[in-house]
Subunit: 508 residues, 2 copies
Amino acid sequence: MLEDRIRRPSLLERITTPQAAASLIEDGMIIGMSGFTRAGDAKAVPIAMAERAKTDPFKITLLTGASLGHDIDRMLTEAHVLARRMPFQTDATLRAAINRGEVMFVDQHLSETVEHLRSNQLGPIDYAIIEAAAIREDGGIIPSTSIGNSASFAILAKKIIVEINLAQTLDLEGLHDIYIPTKRPTREAIPVVACDTHAGVPYIPVDPDKIAAIVITDEQDSFSTIEPADADTQAIADHLIAFFENEVKLGRLDLTLDPLQAGIGTIANSVLAGLATGPFHHLRMYSEVLQDSTFDLFDAGKLTFASGSSITLSSACANRVYRNFAHYKDRLILRPQEISNHPEVIRRLGVIGINTALEADIYGNINSTHVNGTHMMNGIGGSGDFARNAYISIFVTKSLAKGGRISSIVPMVAHVDHTEHDVDIIVTENGLADLRELAPRERAVEVIRNCAHPSFRDDLMDYFERACARGGHTPHLLEEALSWHIRSRDTGTMKAEGGKDQPKVRLA
Amino acid sequence: MLEDRIRRPSLLERITTPQAAASLIEDGMIIGMSGFTRAGDAKAVPIAMAERAKTDPFKITLLTGASLGHDIDRMLTEAHVLARRMPFQTDATLRAAINRGEVMFVDQHLSETVEHLRSNQLGPIDYAIIEAAAIREDGGIIPSTSIGNSASFAILAKKIIVEINLAQTLDLEGLHDIYIPTKRPTREAIPVVACDTHAGVPYIPVDPDKIAAIVITDEQDSFSTIEPADADTQAIADHLIAFFENEVKLGRLDLTLDPLQAGIGTIANSVLAGLATGPFHHLRMYSEVLQDSTFDLFDAGKLTFASGSSITLSSACANRVYRNFAHYKDRLILRPQEISNHPEVIRRLGVIGINTALEADIYGNINSTHVNGTHMMNGIGGSGDFARNAYISIFVTKSLAKGGRISSIVPMVAHVDHTEHDVDIIVTENGLADLRELAPRERAVEVIRNCAHPSFRDDLMDYFERACARGGHTPHLLEEALSWHIRSRDTGTMKAEGGKDQPKVRLA
């Protein structure tokens, strides 16, 4: 059986245990690991690394595509293996270590990490640890349910450890399109001109001599943890559908829309799934992670093609999809995240980007990452790649958090990930603010009226009006601008309760 | 003589006065005007428009490439002609009106404005008013010293007014490369793969019937107002040269460097000119505005080719260059600003981007536009197009302003134009902070130690250390984060003088 999965006979003798493979990793190494939004992560070697570190401490710089499943970031954090981590993560234990300053986290645009490696600003990668469905006779690696940064990690690494996962169907072969941009400054144009362009080869071409170890695993990807749509996410979807319908009426879009991107998570997934009920048809996706909503839209007959860098599904959806993968495969491509998120391609295709905000301010600046301006949640991920280059850049969020104590619309965001230049549309369950071609003072009125929750709307308008009285292109009361966050930090709510919750203030 | 300049005989009868041309403009129209960093602006019709408005009030939305010369924005502002203005400006009178909220200013990435026009999110343009060196027999417009947005304005406008400027040498013919991206979502790759790629035609192709009026002018461009290098700008240049030399030593660059971009203004110009004294050779530029430094580098034998969207020179340099333009012409291309600033091309070429910051914070976020977080200076211009997509994104600033009362390095910028994700290097006269692949806590130490002025360094380190004690990925003391700006606003200095300058604070 293994000959199906390891088709180069001489590589069969490199099969070893996770423990033996983990022992190759030395203190101070830079490791590039597969895994993007829990999909296609290496599953055995990193856990063996965490185990080993309990008695044989060592530290590494860990690069991945994006987030990992199987609590791997938790285990590596608890074993104190992570000195540095980039470019994205979503693990609660790692997040706490990052916020304590114990792990140096480098939060990067997902399209950029391998550019840094290729130009020797970062690296070199000592070991790439890559999950694969199979290894070809020529040594080419066939990835599993994600590509992420795996291709460039493997190509640029000194050595490679492959995890062959028997639980990943061999039907995945042919799903991947590995195209690597040529070297600057003589780089050629990236030949991707449509969602379904095949530009490269369906495997990662590597020198088989670099494959130092092969580990056999048999475990499914961690399932996604998205919540089902609720009344608020349905309302957000409805506002967006009405917006798209109006754009069609104005002749700016047709009913096939433009290629769609949706960020990871419950809200964006619900919004995308909501398109199944609209009048739209022959939709295409040019996105990074393909979630349940992609397959819901396929099954609803609404979607013709989807390009991404990973497939991350709930348990129920995974059972449905992988049992009958051939039914979907010719309508899917997975690409390296450098290509799925490349500014060149996103701008060329005119992608409609839908990403989730942690909070937005009245002028439309977006905080995607930092709770109360200081504490990292996950990372910027691909949101900047898409928001900057999209034809229409949309951010979605519920208007309230923490049972209504926190407003997602604030006077000034306490951390900026996306400036107002890159934000066209903001949608909450209350409504949609169309900020295109508006000046900041006009944007504020749209955001406050349409997006803010009624329980915070008057306070926001009061702030804005008092700020305007002082003047400026982007009026602010600097001494109040972050007061909502200070109050939230100190009292757990942004609401001022008759003055008794006033935060303590000190000026240096 | 005019037959040299207007080569389609039937167009000679469209020659008219600036006043007659200005009378075509109606209240509420959207006008697209040539002009980029004072170069190639329409010079007679807008002044006639301002004159007319004194007795016949009307308001327009004015789009340009970037800034205009000849006090045109001042005159149009004083005549209350401007309802809306985009995407950039540098005029003191207009700036004041913007900050009073009288003119709605839409501050845009310079590469993006025409995308919005092309997709009907903005527009349509009623009249394009374009300065030209000549009109070809087929009606094609040969621009003068800038292209900016002129090509797409003229192509998309309902009608065109051309100003033929006899003071612009006919030697400019052949300098321009007009390439317009094809329509999305079936857009092709932009075929610019090197600084010297010719991708289009040397004129703006338009239907000659759209040319409603032609006005003859004979006036030079406004000269640039950059200051000569001083000790601080020389120190910044020296730090950058040392950095480049070290990158060469590390094998990341060779002595030809990568294509260079430098933002408008004194500091970036001085830094670029400083490269004439280093060991570098066969340099290339892929920039937006070509300033004196471009021609200094040509004359020093250091530069082989320069691509931009405009040529903006001091009086002395203009005399030198235009007297002998044929000597430079085959080493120069002017492109539409959409192409000079296009993410696709900048990322492909691996441009080294050098832009000026108004202020930077300890984590490397950059404010390029808003004085004290509220009052617009000029606009983001092309800095975002370059900083996001550059191979190395560099920001330069003097560490002090206002005679030492203001620090350009602050705890938290009061407005964010470029997030830390897009900022690799910050340079002041004190030193250079290399922030690549560093986490925020590491970035802060680099910025404070290397870039901050000694008179503010201890206060910044004190802030940072107290913030770290509270925790977070990006530690801040929210209640102090903007206190330097508040103090500056209220007392004119960021320095705390024994407590007596404490700003008044109020929390809503």
